[in-house]
């Protein structure tokens, strides 16, 4: 099956000219401005209230725009940014360890496996310091040293300590900072907050995004909202896999509706799998829980050498303690002797999958490996381990009911973050004029793989510093208030929304929404998860439409469209995942290379490659094909029955040389 339709012109990313370090300053100097008296005439819709959306809504209101902000949760404070544990990067160089804006830029581009846009990443690094200043001024209680100054820790993919943190709850504290700023603007009347409200469609008037159709989740009422521009900050699509570390409500509906209205979806195949999550224990499971990666500093990862021993552990005939040292396979230490258990996320996730595919997994489902602290406890004593990981061990025990001080933990990789998203230019505006996309919902800054502590940085950079500066470039050319909800495009979109709801409610089939979501999730996890190949992806592309077809014939949604109806909400989201999943597989099939979170089994280093012979990298490592695939794949929706069009944005690396990532 052909991976794509006809290929169109190269996308214009509007990256300003000049040396990379001056682009952002030049761009701001040359951007349009709107005078304060005129700002209040412009209205802006912000969908999503996490770090990106909350920060954007608050800041735009401070500037004087009229902002309407929407979120599906009961309060903007609950957006899933809250769950980020580790920290936020910033090139402050407070540790005097040689950090700089350039180094943060370089590490992020390299970490993204050379699939991100240089200019955006440099801008991200430039504003990173301002984020910390802003958050501290808001009262975010970052960790401090005894001298009263801010503390830093180091994180994966960097050789400097540039990560600011607030215990294991950095995301929560940053989100509360943004939420408080937003609340201040709500009180002042600058932001009209709509919680428990879900965006159901984007309204496009004369080719410009000018409004949205929403459903009040409490009353069921469908309403129209018009504005001079629409900002989407609706997060990632990790829940397409059904099981992920995302919140239950995270969904792709807003982004996908925008896609269907003309916005291009970029690189949907870039998904990040986190190696240390608590394994699935049964098919009732609703979500996966992440355990901090720091556990890998002292824990050793292993499975039995023989599949028989593994089977005995699974059935409960043997325990980890029954497997003698010589029968254990510490596979990361074996394959990556210098990095060992600290091998990068994508590498260690894939290795876990490999050993489980060989039948050596230890969890009852066969999908799990041991993370063993026996040796560390012997070496350092239980007290030291408790001081380092006590709260994590406690969390593990609560969920799993087994004591990690006595028995090894079991872990397995899980979907955690999605690097792909709606395509945006340097102004964070999509190809669809008037539609701006921030945070995880866009594709721009992390390339094919995101480094730890960079998601928070990007969300806040986009919301606090980038969009307030770039939005006037669009708005200045718009007549404020020129489009109202009376426009027939609103009537059309509203009808589409109510028709869809009516259709969903009228099916009254046999199966629950979750059963379809689970089926889709298992399929894409299997075929488009940690490793992908052509045959599997083609199989998925064949099966997904069938699941979708059955969904529209056989789903059962009780109740009505009026009032709170959780099944109806889920159904709308799953319906979009059923389309989006196909697009994701299509993109994965098209990208015939391995890079970052996208691993195609056909494209890996073998013993014959020079880089392996020279000892630079290992066989089995991801092999990029820069000549052919150094581009952003931006997909255009062309209709339910026709394949999407592929548009390419060539990635040009002027400041960082594309090289092979090596972890030996």
């Amino acid at each position: 099956m052909a991976a794509n339709g006809s290929q169109k012109e190269t996308l214009n990313s509007s990256v300003p000219d000049g040396p990379i370090a001056e682009k952002w300053t030049n761009h701001k100097n040359n951007s349009k401005l709107i005078n304060p008296a005129n700002k209040r005439k412009y209205s802006i819709i912000v969908v999503g209230s996490g770090l990106a959306g909350g920060a954007a809504a608050a800041t735009l209101s401070e500037l004087g725009y009229q902002v309407k902000c929407f979120c599906y949760q009961d309060s903007p404070r609950r957006a899933h940014s809250i769950a980020a544990q580790g920290g936020i990067n910033a090139a402050k160089n407070y540790q005097n360890d040689g950090d700089s804006i350039y180094r943060l830029f370089y590490d992020t581009v390299k970490g993204g496996d050379f699939r991100s846009r240089e200019a955006n990443v440099h801008r991200l690094a430039e504003v990173s310091g301002n984020i910390i200043d802003q958050c501290v001024a808001q009262g975010v209680p970052f960790a401090r040293e005894y001298g009263g100054l801010l503390d830093n820790r180091s994180f994966g993919g960097a050789q400097v300590s540039r990560t600011f943190y607030a215990r294991g709850q950095t995301g929560q504290q940053l989100l509360i900072g943004a939420y408080q700023a937003l609340s201040k603007e709500v009180a002042k009347g600058g932001v009209e907050m709509h919680s428990r409200t879900e965006m159901m469609d984007l309204v496009v008037v004369d080719g410009h995004a000018k409004g949205i159709i929403v459903r009040d989740m409490v009353t069921g009422e469908i309403t129209r909202h018009a504005a001079d521009t629409v900002v989407l900050a609706t997060g990632g699509y990790g829940n397409v896999f059904f099981l992920s570390t995302n919140a239950m409500g995270c969904n792709v509906m807003a982004a996908y509706r925008a896609h269907k209205r003309g916005a291009y979806m970029a690189n949907p195949c870039y998904t990040q799998i986190h190696p240390t999550c608590i394994p699935v224990s049964g098919d009732y499971q609703s979500k996966l829980t992440l355990m901090s990666e720091s556990l890998r500093n002292d824990g050793r990862i292993w499975v039995p050498k023989s599949a028989e021993d593994a089977a005995a552990i699974r059935s409960g005939e043997k325990t980890a303690a029954d497997i003698p040292e010589e029968d254990r396979d510490y596979y990361l230490e074996r394959k990556y002797p210098s990095f060992g258990n600290l091998a990068p996320r994508d590498i260690s996730s894939r290795s876990a999958k490999e050993v489980c595919d060989e039948g050596r997994g230890v969890a009852s489902t066969g999908l799990g490996v041991f993370l063993d602290f026996r040796d560390a406890i012997e070496r350092l004593g239980e007290d030291t381990i408790r001081a380092r990981y006590g709260n994590l061990f406690q969390m593990y025990e609560k969920i799993q009911g087994s004591n990690p001080y006595k028995e090894p933990m079991m872990i397995y990789p899980a979907v955690h973050y999605t690097m792909g998203g709606l395509w945006v230019d340097y102004n964070l505006m999509s190809n669809l004029p008037g539609l701006h996309v921030l945070g995880e919902a866009n594709f721009s800054d992390h390339g094919a793989n995101r480094l730890g502590a960079s998601a928070l940085m990007q969300g806040l950079a986009d919301g606090y510093f980038v969009i307030p500066a770039t939005l006037p470039n669009y708005l200045a050319n718009q007549e404020p208030g020129s489009v109202t909800t009376e426009n027939e495009a609103f009537a059309e979109a509203e009808k589409a929304v109510t028709d869809r709801i009516d259709k969903l409610l009228s099916i009254q089939g046999e199966r629950t929404v979750d059963s379809f979501h689970r089926e889709l999730g298992l399929l894409v996890w299997d075929k488009c998860g940690m490793s992908r190949d052509k045959a599997g992806l083609e199989e998925a592309l064949e099966k997904i439409p069938k699941i979708r077809e059955e969904f529209w014939k056989n789903v059962r949604i009780p109740g009505t469209g009026e009032g709170l109806n959780a099944e109806l909400e889920k159904a709308g989201r799953v319906a979009d995942f059923l389309e989006f999943g196909e697009l994701m597989c299509r993109d994965a099939l098209n990208r015939e290379e391995s890079c970052g979170g996208h691993f195609r089994e056909e494209y890996q280093f073998t013993e014959k490659d020079d880089a392996v012979i020279s000892g630079y990298t290992n066989p089995g490592e991801a092999k990029r094909r820069d000549e052919e695939f150094s581009y952003v794949a931006a997909w255009e929706y062309t209709g339910d029955d026709s394949p999407p069009n592929l548009h390419k944005e060539e990635l040009i690396f002027e400041n960082v040389k594309q090289s092979v990532r090596s972890y030996k």
Binding site: A137, A166, Q172, Q173, V218, M248, I399
Partner: protein, 250 residues
């Protein structure tokens, strides 16, 4: 395991509501409490009924969305966890479990176990912030803050706004929530300029939302999933006394 559930069902805000009994059959012991409800709901839907509505989102104890009481206790009797972190292995086969929404006049029931906690948002809007315009902040390290003070501020800032404190309080008082927000900001040097204004405004908003007041039972502290200490209430009282004295005489 098999359980009997006594669940509060209420179709909408104006419905009277009642306790209904459900059999939860063959629940895996490894399941979480909310997964148990998922299973029951799946059965209800397949049987042609309407599922039990409950709030939930992150299911890892940080978003603060899950909000029901288990046997009369918000987030269950287990210390320092949210409802989504409760696991079925803590129950015995054959147990009867009472599941009711968070109660309080300021938390009206929306449906079944879902309540409206927007009163908390309005309290934060009244003063639970530091007014700092984006872009106007000075360098983050220009104002050192003693580590133990920053830590105390963090302890209060750990609040997830779930409302268990209100639900557990026989007066439905929001003092722990308001105290935590006030302490988080009032303990920091950045929070000083607006300290008095903040305390007066938040307390007034709290009163007008219809929350009760604190009679020092410390039930809130006992059920708080983030184990926020009632010290924040003590501090709020003190800060309020100072602020209102200043308001009257200065």
């Amino acid at each position: 395991m098999n359980l009997t559930l006594k669940v509060w069902r209420q179709k909408h805000a104006n419905d009277r509501g009642t306790i209904e009994t459900y059999d939860a059959k063959s629940i895996p012991v490894e399941a979480s409490f909310l997964e148990m409800l998922d299973i029951v709901n799946e059965q209800i839907v397949q049987g042609g009924g309407e599922p039990i509505h409950f709030d939930h989102d992150c299911r890892e104890g940080i978003c603060g969305m899950c909000s029901l009481t288990i046997n009369g206790v918000p987030h269950s009797k287990e210390k320092g966890i949210t409802t989504c972190q409760v696991h079925m292995r803590k129950f015995k086969d054959g147990d009867t479990i009472w599941i009711e929404p968070f109660r309080g006049k300021a938390f009206p029931v929306v449906r079944d176990l879902v309540v409206d906690r927007s009163a908390f948002d309005r309290i934060v809007s009244a003063g639970g912030y530091i007014s700092v315009r984006t872009g106007s902040a000075e360098d983050a390290n220009s104002l050192p803050i003693a580590k133990d003070r920053a830590d105390s501020s963090f302890d209060a800032a750990a609040c997830i706004g779930c409302g268990a404190c209100v639900a557990a309080c026989k007066n439905a008082s929001a003092m722990l929530f308001v105290g935590a927000k006030a302490a988080h900001l009032n303990l920091l040097p950045q929070g000083q300029p607006e300290k008095d204004k903040r305390v007066l405004a938040m307390v007034r908003q709290m009163d007008s939302e219809g929350f009760g007041n604190c009679t020092n039972h410390y039930e809130c502290e006992a059920v708080c999933p983030k184990q926020i200490s009632a010290d924040v209430i003590s501090k709020l009282n003190r800060d309020y006394a100072v602020a209102s004295t200043k308001e009257a005489f200065k």
